[in-house]
Amino acid sequence: MTSNDEGHVHIHEMESHIEAVETDLEYFRRKRLEPRVLHFLRRGIIGFADLLDADPRGGGDSLVGDDPQRREVAGEAGSAGPIDEARIRAIEDRLDALVHAIAATTLPLNGATVAIEDGRRERGDYDGFFRITPRPLDATDLATRAATLERRLDDDHRLVEAFTRALIACGRTTAEAIRARHEQATSTGYHNGARIVARAWVDPAFKQRLLETGRAAVRELDIPPGKLGRLGVAENTDDVHNIVVCTLCSCYPHDLLGNPPWWYRTDTYKQRIVEDPRPVMAEMFDLEIPEDTRIRVHDSTSDVRWMVLPQRPPGTDHLDEEALAALVTPESLVGAALVPSPDDA
């Protein structure tokens, strides 16, 4: 979170944080959680009664995430009314916890084979009839919007917890397997991408293997290569700037790099970046690409998930691999930003 001189967050920054959570929460509910629940119900993997029986309001410790203390902090702030940095942080933390809890349900199941493509069909990526209606945003003031988010986070945490418990109760998986998957989901972050980039900057032979073989090369960094199709690596140079999108859904090598920036999942970005990328990058990301530099937009289609290998910034000759990795940002891994030079700091 960015702060001003007094250490407080600007109100317009609070609004952008709230807006990001609103967008992401609806995305994860409509595209990840509920289609999965619906698919399992439709296929008889779990039943409606199993879900009702597993309602966490019946008691018991949470399996995957919703920290009751965090919920209390958010709840107290909610009842007090005013909006501040702590309340927004609590909301963002609960969204992160929800995303990880949903990820924990994506694991191999006993007696059922579920592929990501099933979810895409179920949520209406190819047929609008199946699309889940977004919840309306009828408030304009930030405090009300925050209270709405807190309520919706309660609801969605309740569902994912019930869903997880039902999967275990039905014998489809075990609490141990869920915890292991949850641990994996919470520990995967963009720092893997930063390490890959830094190694490619200091080791040209590794870079070549990375560009040619993708996932196989990341084993050299003790990063599990994952299994989600191929990893495409697009190298930025003086002549070409690459940027990544997935217009069909939101494909990203998340098994390697964690989740992409929140705007990656927005329809605005998906629609506009493939139409006319240069002005869109300037407008959305303050990223001015010179007119004679070629821009290539990579539209991922799930069998190849793309990341960008950004250019090594000037003023970094004296830095070692670890210090270089610390410069890499999540935005630069999709081509929406350059890696900042330490000289600019």
Binding site: A115, R278, T301, D303, V304
Partner: protein, 85 residues
């Protein structure tokens, strides 16, 4: 067996082949050039049956956009492509 090779000019079909919905709608009917071929990508976590061989195809931007140095690359399967002049 793939029908196409790197360097081929191809056009994206208008209709969805059976069982493979994965081609962005805005590319239908548009022509591009194959810049890389992968063969069949085995990806069972993503979809149950393998899709046909996969190619990276580069397209110029759509109608009405004048930027001469910008392009879109998409990864498309054999069954979505036909030869273009």
């Amino acid at each position: 067996m793939t029908a196409f090779a790197v360097g081929d000019r191809v056009r994206v079909r208008d209709s969805v082949p059976d069982g493979n919905p994965r081609t962005p709608g805005y590319l239908r009917g548009r022509a591009g050039v194959i810049v890389r071929s992968y063969g069949v990508v085995v990806n069972p976590l993503d979809h149950h049956a393998p899709y046909p061989p996969l190619h990276s195809v580069v397209f110029p931007l759509g109608e009405g956009v004048t930027d001469p140095h910008a392009e879109v690359l998409a990864d498309l399967h054999d069954d979505w492509l036909e030869r273009a002049e």
